[in-house]
Point group: C2
Chain length 456, copies 2
């Protein structure tokens, strides 16, 4: 598996060049590495002479694999047989690797599909604009720039399709017509900014007896930001601009109360109990889909983090934090609130930087592309569950809202399964079981979606 | 510079073997690597046929050099010329390296001294037991074991001398007849122990909306442990068993108010302001020498600590913490108090482990060895400042209290200077300036201490 870690740059150029070669092999009219101020977009066009044009949005970057717990070498990858998750029937074969599901497996499956259609002497039923960005894991920081720069051509597309999503561990599929937005912060407390404690470097721990500690200061500052259970953000105005679910969303929630099984999520994540009671299932689901995520600590670090007992009074400490937000909040409203909170609580020196931003996206399940996906699932005897939105982030708002405003919106879907994105032992199913489709059906599914959409 | 990092094991065996070779070169009667359940002691005996016997306590291990800010390669080391600290006159030459002052520089200077005495056709004026441990930076975890095992022979010594301490950046020297004790803890909050949040690994950050966070739990638990400024430990009974200064200590404090200059400490540590007002200098000094250090956070970590913005809801978070304590506290009393505090505040699942322990030590400045050191300083026209105790830890209680109870206690001293132990750009002065002696005088000073002691 080619590493393509946008955070560190490892393998990015090689990965982009490899993908451009794949486009070329498909017979694309355009197969280019197009530069941005960050990592380039691998851009391709295939003119099939069809009526409709789809932008196929993809990503070629992935997360680092620094987290412990991998049982395979994450960038060599391995085919693992009889892989079982929780109590579910095992998968005959999975590809276990960083990026397997997020999202090199689905990307290659989609491109294989196009290759197969052409290999059997046919043309794809829709024209394709292949757009693979290298900064999805950096909240697509230069994708808006790229889309605005190429807006005229890109707006000739009818809709955007992301070959992703797919079946969960129990084989179920979803129609998921939106995403949450994200704002990601770095919060740093340092002696340098504070003017107290060690200014330049960590000093011998014994000095704590008369020297202030920036780590303690960060701990106490963070403590003011949430309720004691860590689940409600106490920053003023954090939940304002959250609007009630739409009529379509409310009816989706009503259906979900009947049909949505929480246990596959819990098993896959190894979470015994949610933060909110399951007996009020509608309220839990409403929170899950329609509330911002409070304030997550993605990482915290300061001082000595190695083995054993080095004593030091550190000169700074840092927390990485994020919020996943919902309509009608925007990615710009959180940073000023966080800063105001720190000032109000006596921590004006603590530095907050917003690292990444991305807006929520919302389309209707009634769009032709979503209908084509639904029809495809049903053709494979799968009854899709319609959900409100993805709780994660994808840069879909850029296609269905500003700057492209594609009239057909966006959709995503896939037969097949994988999970543990950002976690150890990420996998993508190659040969499934009775419920979960393998790679062959995944590719058949992509072809069917394209044909259903062209016909609709 | 041979790395000898006891925390990781890097270079420990090679370092021990090198030192044993040095002992052999001195003509020691015994020059052995003696095993312990941890890193070995490098043990030597030199029988000079003298009346008195000194244990020369040394350490051959050092800290890791993971901290940022080094301007030289910490284990290659470099001679740096015209090295200036704050506003003080520059040193003509320093050796900059990890372990330069803490404490390979002083160790080699002492052994060179013995070698020089013999090279000039004389015998050392005292018999020497050379005892270099490899676990000082692990709070001497197996030194008690070693001392008990060899107690009979070691108790034949009159006193223990540690070739260390020395001049501060402005050239002043101290008589420092004691140390504080240390207790070092690892505090871990995990989904596994808590039964809430992710149990096995960090999960996608978007799940925070309905999943509890062990990192937030650690933050809120830590928040209960100190006053908002991080300087007073709120754990019940943390300061009990602190006894008032002795009469000798009180008179030392009275003298220090007149003679002790705080600004060299502040400049060396890059600390602008202490946590307590300087206008009540006696109270500040009493705190510094006679109070436990509250509770220091040496390190904190959980989740993603790399570049950029990986989103994850971590399954655990850890803090490393220590307290430096004073008579009559003991290293065993803090762990149960910390555990009781966590239980009382609703965090019974948070795991606390004591990694290292060491007791305080107290001798009298009137002992023959301290008098010999005072006389040596005065002979070099230095007026030593007598302080209450070192605020750091050294395993000296093992020599002056249990298990050896040497009747002459322990002492330490040195001409020459170095600092930034555990910090970047640690150094040891090779050629000094008008106030600070270089390596040649450092060795002369050691010789003089030995002769003064033999004569006393």
């Amino acid at each position: 598996m080619q590493p393509t870690i946008s955070n560190t740059g490892e393998g990015m150029r090689e990965g982009a060049e490899y993908l451009r070669g794949v486009y070329e092999g498909l017979g694309c009219d355009v197969a280019e590495i197009r530069e941005t101020p960050g990592w380039p977009v691998v851009y391709g066009e295939y003119d099939a002479g069809a009526e409709r044009t789809l932008i196929i949005y993809m990503m070629y970057d992935c997360m680092p694999a620094d987290e412990p717990g991998w049982t395979v070498s994450p960038f060599e990858g391995e085919l693992v047989h009889d892989h079982q998750i929780g109590d579910y029937p095992p998968f005959r074969t999975v590809l276990m690797a960083r990026g397997a599901i997020n999202s090199k497996g689905p990307l290659m499956a989609f491109l294989n599909t196009v290759s197969s259609i052409r290999g059997s002497g046919n043309e794809p039923p829709v024209n394709l604009i292949l757009l693979a960005e290298g900064e999805e894991e950096q909240a697509s920081r230069h994708l808006p720039w790229f889309l605005r720069r190429h807006r005229e051509r890109l707006q000739e597309a009818d809709a955007m399709f992301f070959p992703m999503g797919g079946q969960t561990v129990d084989g179920s599929v979803t129609i998921c017509p939106g995403t949450k937005g994200i704002a990601y912060f770095e919060v740093e407390c340092s002696g340098e900014h504070w003017g107290r404690g060690p200014r330049k470097f960590g000093i011998h721990g014994s000095n704590k007896v008369v020297v202030d500690s920036p780590v303690w200061r960060l701990v106490h500052a963070l403590g003011t930001m949430t309720s004691p259970d860590g689940n409600t953000c106490l920053v003023d105005g954090w939940y304002e601009n959250v609007t009630p679910p739409t009529e379509e969303e409310n009816s989706i929630l009503d259906e979900l109360v009947e049909s949505f099984d929480l246990s596959p999520i819990k098993q896959a994540l190894h979470v015994d109990e949610f933060a909110y009671p399951e007996d009020d299932k509608r309220e839990l689901l409403r929170r899950y889909y329609c509330e911002p995520s409070g304030l997550n600590i993605d990482g915290i670090y300061g001082g000595y983090t190695g083995e054993g007992s080095k004593t030091v009074l550190p000169h700074k400490a840092t927390a990485k934090m994020d919020v996943r937000f919902v309509p009608d909040q925007t990615s710009e409203e959180f940073l000023p609130k966080l800063r105001a909170h720190l000032i109000r609580h006596g921590f004006p020196d603590i530095k907050v930087t917003q690292l990444t931003s991305g807006e929520w996206a919302r389309t209707s399940v009634k769009s032709p592309l979503w209908q084509a996906i639904r029809q495809t699932y049903e053709g494979f005897n799968l009854e899709p569950l319609t959900v409100v939105r993805n709780i994660g982030y994808g840069p879909f708002s850029l296609f269905c809202h500003e700057p492209l405003n594609l009239h057909g919106g966006f959709a995503w879907g896939m037969l097949g399964h994988g999970t543990r994105a950002h976690s150890p032992n990420e996998y993508f199913v190659i040969e499934g079981n009775e419920k979960v489709h393998g790679l062959t059906d995944c590719e058949k599914g992509f072809a069917t979606i394209l044909y259903n959409y062209a016909r609709s």
